[in-house]
């Protein structure tokens, strides 16, 4: 296969019919593997990992906190990419995928915030601190809410897709700006991102590393969250495509009658 046809291969899913047919086939795989990964990862993490010598059993919260926080950010990134694709290539599926992803992002952000608060209470002695990471997530949460509210407020789907896409682009820039502003504003309690740093994973960085005992189930949970996210996005995008089709059918019917 030449590069050109390969590059074309992904765009064929911009056809709603093709998208629905394909997702119908692959969805069961994603649902089941997400369920397996999450079940194994969470059970492993909850029942079969030792307590941390400093944090005690609260370390088990990591299996929910870290994956949900990762997905909260990745979900926004995915919306950013699909918004760009919509603005440049005008594929409806792309805009609808961004719409379908937003509520998932809200839930992920909420889980990260809630588990963070519950974890912070015994560790830092407070449910909430205006720590840069916590604050950034709260701001991300607000961005998600505004984005969804704008989608809901506009009647015409194409106008809504355009406006939300631009909001997503502008919002991304301001979200990054806010992240730096917040960092400047307050140095925090939260430890650095210890999971994804290479040194932490290979164990060369011993000060804050997440040891292998915790890492394997955590890795499984992250994969589980990713798979669950993909399954939900594909499924919800299908729903949005069908809702759009209903609208179109009704509009055509009214125009004909």
């Amino acid at each position: 296969m030449s590069i050109a046809t390969k590059a074309n291969a992904i765009w064929q899913y911009a056809n709603p019919k093709k998208f629905l047919a394909t997702t119908e086939r692959v969805l069961p795989f994603f649902w089941i593997s997400a369920a397996i990964c999450l079940a194994v990862g969470l059970v492993w993490g909850f029942f079969f990992t030792p307590d941390d010598f400093r944090q005690g059993s609260t370390v088990k919260i990591i299996y929910l906190h870290v994956p949900s926080a990762l997905m909260a950010i990745n979900c926004w990134l995915m919306m950013l990419v699909t918004s760009l694709v919509w603005l440049v290539r005008r594929h409806h599926v792309s805009a609808l995928a961004a719409r379908a992803a937003a509520p998932i992002g809200v839930v992920m952000t909420l889980i990260a915030l809630i588990t963070g608060a519950i974890w912070g209470q015994p560790m830092w002695g407070t449910w909430w601190a205006w720590d840069p990471r916590l604050t950034s997530f709260l701001i991300l949460f607000l961005f998600y809410l505004g984005y969804i509210a704008l989608w809901e407020a506009i009647e015409d789907p194409d106008t809504a897709a355009d406006l939300t896409s631009v909001l997503c682009l502008v919002g991304s820039v301001f979200a990054i700006l806010s992240r730096y502003a917040v960092n400047f504003w307050n140095q925090g309690l939260h430890q650095g991102a210890s999971v994804m740093r290479a040194g932490a994973v290979t164990g060369t960085d011993t000060t804050e590393k997440v040891s292998n005992v915790f890492f394997y189930p955590l890795f499984l949970c992250i994969i589980g969250f990713v798979l669950l996210f993909i399954a939900l996005v594909l499924y919800r995008t299908g729903t949005e495509i069908r809702a759009r089709r209903i609208r179109a059918l009704l509009a055509r019917e009214r125009a004909g009658a």
């Binding site: 059993s57 609260t58 055509r252």
Partner: protein, 52 residues
């Protein structure tokens, strides 16, 4: 069976419970709306193909 969570039992259990509840809610609501929209679409398609 149940691991000893020490003095943090409440924190760990409540965070698991809340997170799973939220995830479950998200999945159930997505599936519920998906089903509804799907059947609605099929009915609309059927009605339109019958009428016209």
């Amino acid at each position: 069976m149940m691991p000893d969570l020490g003095k943090y039992t409440e924190a760990v259990l409540s965070s698991y419970a809340l997170s799973l509840l939220l995830l479950g809610l998200l999945v159930v609501l997505s599936l519920w709306r998906g089903r509804k929209v799907r059947s609605e679409m099929e009915q609309t398609e059927l009605r339109i193909s019958r009428d016209g």
